[in-house]
Amino acid sequence: MRWWLIALVLLVGGCTAETAPPPSNGVSIHQVVPVGAENISTIVVILEQNHTFDSYFGSFPGADGIDGSVTFPLRPLGEPGRAAPFPYDRSDDQRFIPAPGEEPLSNGRGAAIRAWNDGAMDGFVRAQVNRGFNGELPLRYWDGDSIPGIWELAEEYVLLDRYFSSSPGGSLPNVLNLLAGSDFGVEAGTKSALTELADAPPTLFDQLEAGGVSWGYYVGDLDEADYDELRTRAYLKSDETTPSAAYWAPVLAIERFAEDPYRSKLRNQSDFLTAAADGALPEVSYVLPSPTDHQFTPADVSENRLLSLVNAVAKGPQWDETLIFVVWDDWGGYFDHVSPPVIRGEPLGFRVPALMISPWVRPGYVSSVDRDHSSIPRFIADVTGVPFYQRGLTEDAAFADAFIERATPNDPAVFGGGTLGHAETPPREARQGTLVLYSSGLGLAATVFAGWWFSGRRRSAEAVA
């Protein structure tokens, strides 16, 4: 590993002065912060899991999604013809739930390469069946009925429909790209990969720390005991079960993050909610919710948690300065119809859902610029002004088209619910009609009264005369 040198320099730099570590390639990569984004001083990245773009937003209006013409061959099942994606129905879960301890689908690199099939994007069924998984499940998709709150977010803010996972592999390489702009050569989430991460090269958080930028990494509902257990790295022994959090939030596998000043910045999601309410969010927050959007966490349960995190920011005093990225780490084994770009001879991972939520983004906009997980740490470095040395995979890290120049921030809104309803109030026509009726009734009554009154006076006058 050539990273040991950087780690050493970083360590020395961190110990001796408030200076950033020297670059790996000698050049700090920066792009111009786009108009609109200059108002952003708090960035939140929420990491969800295991969905492709099409599986969540394939039927979203205006996005590059699927229609009735998108089908996938069933040949590997020994059946003729092709199968079309089918909508989520909770009652189907019973058919798809795997045995305890097993995954419902493969999201590994091998399956992804098979599904990709040199860009033909027709191997999703085959990739799973060949590995002994269910051949129907990859073609399942969700829509505005099954994940209404997440769709509302997309309708209100920015949906990225060409946001690719950085690696065809599973969570670990993709999350590494999200927090470091590189997978450090990791292709899959294994114990050996976690072992090698112990002295991982600089991540975004190292740069933020060195640059004096506040940050926090909020990991699900981990408590102090969990952190201690992770710190001992006992799970790396072959007979121990590796906690999922180590793959989904790999800073937990990096040894220096077990010590201050890093350790004190690893918190759980209740700390995030409290900080959001108190206006105490750091400049950069990464959040791994619990429960995450993993397969067979009921969609509404993980959706409610995600929305509660977004709502917490919307309700808090920092909303006007905040940008939230919500991204899904890898494809999860589900289908997508867009072949990912090939960078340096390797395909990126499949498209994953990604949202940008902020009072400064273009409302209801679908952005179709190629980006991947590595774009986000580069963007954060640009906004916070810290050096960043990973070039990333896709070109754009400015997200310029997602922002809009405006004088004042958009008002915050909260999302979810919709089950309670509101008391019925009459439409404008009813109110106007009622006003006309009252006015007419009283006006007519006054006219009759006046007529009667003056006719009586006239009669009295005549009688006197």
Binding site: G417, A430, R431
Partner: protein, 543 residues
């Protein structure tokens, strides 16, 4: 009493001033209570305010005369609570005092009328209710006016008074539907006193035509645009459980008018029963019908007595004049009889009204609470801090956020000042046991998890009313709370203050807003339990 036109002007002006001052002082010190918020919100909605229309249906239980007036006022002043209260206080509060003078004059002469009007002008109860945007002040004003016109017509045997008397009764009904009972009272008394003999068919038809024209818009608008809603309200009105015992309304009178007033009114009523003049017939019929109605009707609310206090004030005026004249006779004959009688009336009148003046001062400064040991009269409580909490919500919470409250009272204030929706724990899922205007929340826990409820608001008034729901609300705050976002409290010096966070331990919390998170519970929020710092309220569901 007034022996010249200028004397009358001066006397009536003094009376109006006496009535106006306590009704106008510090009108905006505390914001609207629940009912005021609803009526003012309906008025604004009726006159085209789309923001209010989202929260306040114009089709609730009552007709819309006052609401329409308030809405029209808002088109000039903007939505303004003080302006709305001024309208009610001046037009109907002071107006009723002046009408009461004439009513008393018809019944017991100038002195009785003056005493009755002064009593009403300084009565804590009347001052309190006529400072608020409630339907009862206009109802009482038009009902008193109708009585006055009918009595004058009957006494003069002049049919011309019938049309304005019936018009006033119709306007009373358009203020609040209980005014409908005025019609049998008027026509019944007209028969007993023989007035009906001079009324021609043409006049009767004109009278009834005007009554129909005034009342029809209420019925027609409901029939066209809210037929289903109307049946819901009828069901609710007839099936709603009693909310107070029979002792409630007499208790209100004792506390907010005073035992001496009650005694004087009883004496006066005794005199009226013995005398049975034309005016007495009307007043006795009026009081008999409405008191019977209030006893029989299961729902008893604080402002209901507004309708009968002018007639009671006339009775009290009659009693005070009689006792005063008797007292005057005991005075040594160093002065002429008229002076001695006036002195006696003044002495007794001062005895009755003195405590009223003192209590009215307290009501103006502190609201109704100091005069009462009861905990159920929420309709006219001063909702200290509610306006401030609602305005905070309007400025600091997302536009579509929803609040969980103990009862709907605070919710209405939130909607009016903060434009925020709410659900209340005390709203029953049973349609026969809830006001149809409110959405029930059958499972608040689930609604919070589903991000349907974003804040919980505890308030001292609702907590006083229902300790049960107060504790329930706090259990949700503890389970899903992330922070105390805002609070209004009374500090040890009695000052009301607001804070972004939990109030100091030494303070009396009045309103506390908890921020809630959706999804599964994460970590309990620790905060000291909130108890209303007054009498221990009865547990169990609120009405």
């Amino acid at each position: 009493m007034f022996r010249s036109r200028w004397g009358a002007v001066l006397g009536l002006s003094a009376l109006a001033l006496l009535a106006a001052v306590p009704r106008l002082v510090s009108l905006g010190r505390v914001g609207f209570n629940s009912d005021e918020a609803v009526y003012a919100g309906q008025g604004a909605a009726l006159l085209g305010d789309e923001r209010m229309a989202e929260f306040f249906s114009i089709f609730r239980a009552h007709p819309l005369l006052l609401q329409g007036m308030i809405g029209s006022l808002f088109t000039v002043t903007g939505v303004n609570d003080v302006a709305a209260r001024m309208l009610v206080a001046l037009l109907f509060g002071v107006g009723t005092v002046l009408v009461t003078y004439y009513l008393g004059r018809e019944a017991v002469g100038h002195r009785g009328g003056a005493v009755a009007a002064v009593l009403l002008a300084v009565m804590p109860y009347h001052v309190l209710v006529s400072r608020q945007v409630m339907l009862d002040p206009p109802l009482a004003f038009f009902a008193s006016l109708s009585l006055l016109l009918a009595i004058r017509g009957s006494k003069a045997r002049n049919e011309r008074f019938l049309v304005p008397a019936v018009t006033a009764a119709a306007l009373a009904t358009l203020s609040k539907e209980t005014g409908l009972l005025l019609f049998p009272i008027l026509f019944g008394a007209a028969v007993v006193t023989g007035w009906w003999r001079v009324v021609r068919l043409r006049t009767l038809i004109v009278s009834l035509s005007i009554a129909v024209l005034v009342g029809l818009p209420f019925l027609l608008s409901r029939a066209i645009w809210s037929a289903g809603g109307s049946s819901d309200y009828i069901l609710w009105q007839f099936l709603r459980p009693p909310n107070h015992t029979q002792a409630y309304l007499p208790g209100i009178m004792i506390q907010y008018a005073g035992p001496l007033f009650i005694a004087a009114a009883l004496v006066g009523l005794g005199r009226m029963v013995r005398r049975r003049s034309t005016a007495d017939w009307y007043l006795l019929a009026f009081l008999g019908v409405y008191v019977t109605f209030m006893v029989a009707w299961p729902t008893k609310l604080f402002p209901y007595l507004m309708l009968v206090v002018p007639a009671l004030a006339v009775a009290a005026g009659s009693g005070i004049v009689w006792v005063g004249e008797l007292t005057g006779r005991l005075i040594p004959r160093v002065a002429p009889p008229l002076a001695r009688a006036t002195f006696g009336i003044g002495m007794i009148g001062a005895l009755v009204s003195g405590p009223m003046v003192l209590n009215t001062g307290r009501v103006i400064q502190e609201g109704p609470d100091p005069l009462s040991d009861r905990r159920f009269d929420l309709e006219v409580h001063e909702f200290v801090g509610a306006r401030e909490a609602a305005e905070w919500a309007g400025e600091h919470t997302p536009r579509n956020s929803r609040f969980l409250t103990i009862g709907p009272s605070l919710g209405n204030v939130l909607a009016f000042y903060g434009s925020r929706h709410f659900v209340a724990l005390s709203v029953s899922p049973d349609p026969a046991r809830r006001n149809p205007a409110y959405v029930p929340v059958a499972n608040p826990d689930l609604a919070i998890r589903q991000n349907d409820i974003h804040y919980a608001v505890w308030d001292f008034l609702s907590a006083n009313r229902s300790g049960f729901y107060s504790r329930r609300l706090q259990s949700y705050a503890a389970k899903y709370g992330t922070a105390v976002a805002f609070a209004v409290y009374r500090d040890v010096d009695g000052e009301v203050r607001a804070v972004a966070g939990y109030p100091p331990a030494s303070a009396e919390p009045l309103i506390v807003v908890f921020e809630l998170h959706g999804g599964d519970p994460i970590q309990p929020l620790a905060f000291p339990p909130l108890e209303a710092q007054r009498d221990e309220p009865p547990s169990g569901p609120a009405a």
